[in-house]
Amino acid sequence: MSLIQISNVSRTYQLNSISVEALKNVNLTVAAGEFLALAGPSGSGKTTLLNIMGCIDKPTTGEVLFDNIPTASLSNDQLSDLRAEKISFVFQNFNLFPVLTAVENVEYALFLKKMTAAQRRKEAEAALDMMGLLHLAKHKPLEMSGGQQQRVAIARAIVREPLLILADEPTANLDHKTGEEIVDLMREINRQKKTTFIFSTHDQKVIDRADRVVRIWDGEIVSA
């Protein structure tokens, strides 16, 4: 069963008079449960494609089906609700809230879910525990290493039990060893929870750990 179906998608950025075609007629289908690497050099269009798959951006032309829903027909609020229910993000810069502790950062992802504070805390701690970070629950992001921060970010992503986790260069700000540990953790979650992972990277060691590699070059998919 396909989770995402992208047909003839182009994305053009308009910069004053010049227009940049970041994606050119892309076709791609991602099945539920895949562990997929999006590989390509800097500026090739990885982020643009992830944004479109994550429903935070819309294609200039073409069609996107997410979980069999044509996203073009959805309003901003409907897209927000769709993300809240089904999609999580992991970022290159971790994007944790500096004023919140680790466990509060994870709880924040449950902000829109109707549950009691105690329940929220319990699930957040469980997610942190899975990342082996329960002992840092009360620490603020700036008191943690990059690898620890990214693991908090992954805990925040998985605590909502989404269908899809999108990770844009999740290892780019980490050293190789830590980066590989992070990818292994994602792999483990993918196995246990059947969560679909799509991550972009240009690190060969990371690419090697994927089930499937989609290579993108200058806005075009060169091998899927």
Binding site: N51, D77, R83, A84, V99, L100, E104, Y108
Partner: protein, 422 residues
Amino acid sequence: MMTLKIALRNIFRHKARSVITLSTIVFGCVALIFIGGYFQDIFWKMREGFIESLSGHIQIYRRGFNEHGRIEAYRYLIDNYQEIKELVSDFPEVEYVSARLQFQGLMSTGSNTISFIGQGIEPQNERQATIEETQDLRQFMKSKNLGLPVTVFGTSLVGDDDYQVVLGRGLAETMRAQVDHRVTLLTSTVHGATNALDLNVKGAFRTTQKDFDDISLRLPLQTAQSLLDTQAVQVLVVKLHQTEDTDKVFKSLQVIIRDKKLNLELRRWEDMADFYNKTAELFNMFYLVMRIVIGIVVVLGIFNTMNMSVMERISEIGTIMALGIRRRGVMKLFLFEGLLLGCIGGAIGVLMGIIIVSLVAAIGIVMPPPPGTTFSWLSTPVIVPSIVISTFFLSVFVGGVSALVPAYKASRLEITEALRYR
């Protein structure tokens, strides 16, 4: 709960900046509470002084006096005033009822002659303060003393001696009058005949109004009555224990006058206190302007802070939008922060305002005489509950208003742009 926690943490993210922003709000609140309390104190003192020195709370006249009395003063006198006095004195709210008879004439010391306005009064009701009493300004600023004429030399009218008079300070100076000098008052009786009387000067007084002191003298009511050849009085001045009871007593008196078909008319102090009413109006206007100006200054301060906060948190805003929080939700978060900032600043400001006003009131500020008057006075600002409450809510409101534009800006960010932002 979570919203509150996060908003609080974000507000205090930059300590120095929060302190400055909060200081602006606190300063604004303190200023408004202080100035409001200072004005209130002025109003109160003006009011009580006016009532004590001139008007009493309610004045009772013969019907028609206020319309025609200026020209034919003696046609509108109250004959049966003792009866009415007794009737009105029965009200528990009434402190006393005092009869007055006012007239004009010429005063002569043999060498000098000058025109005057005389007031026949009941000395037991219309007390004068001594100079010693005015030394303790705080005591003198209490309502029972405020506005009392002050004896500047000699004494006030004493005992039941009929042949005595006290002069306004200006009048006394012009006539070079001293204690125990004899002066002759010359006037026409209510029937139009000329009459004169020799009186003993007991002393001189001053009121808050210099103009009044330059032409006025006071003498016992019965002396004025015999000089004018009448048993009647012009006005009954009703003094209450509390100014707040004025309307209540006024209404009851109206009913009595109607039911008993008395040929009388009434005026309340505020019908006479033109100067007070105009000043109050002016001050209220001024206070409104202050509120607006301070409000704008504080709005700009909070706006600046919130704007900086949004600019710094662009990638965070992108992150929470990616998490699925709607645009409206982002707007709410920032609005909430603004309201909370106004709330915290307002709470501290109101508290500080109350403390500062209490301190200043305990010490008191000696103020120079207001224009046209002769006394220094002691300002003791008061805490006005309605001003305290409205200042707090103004602060919260201002917090919300200042956050509107930054919050809107935050909610309009493009998610992808916000996430790309460094």
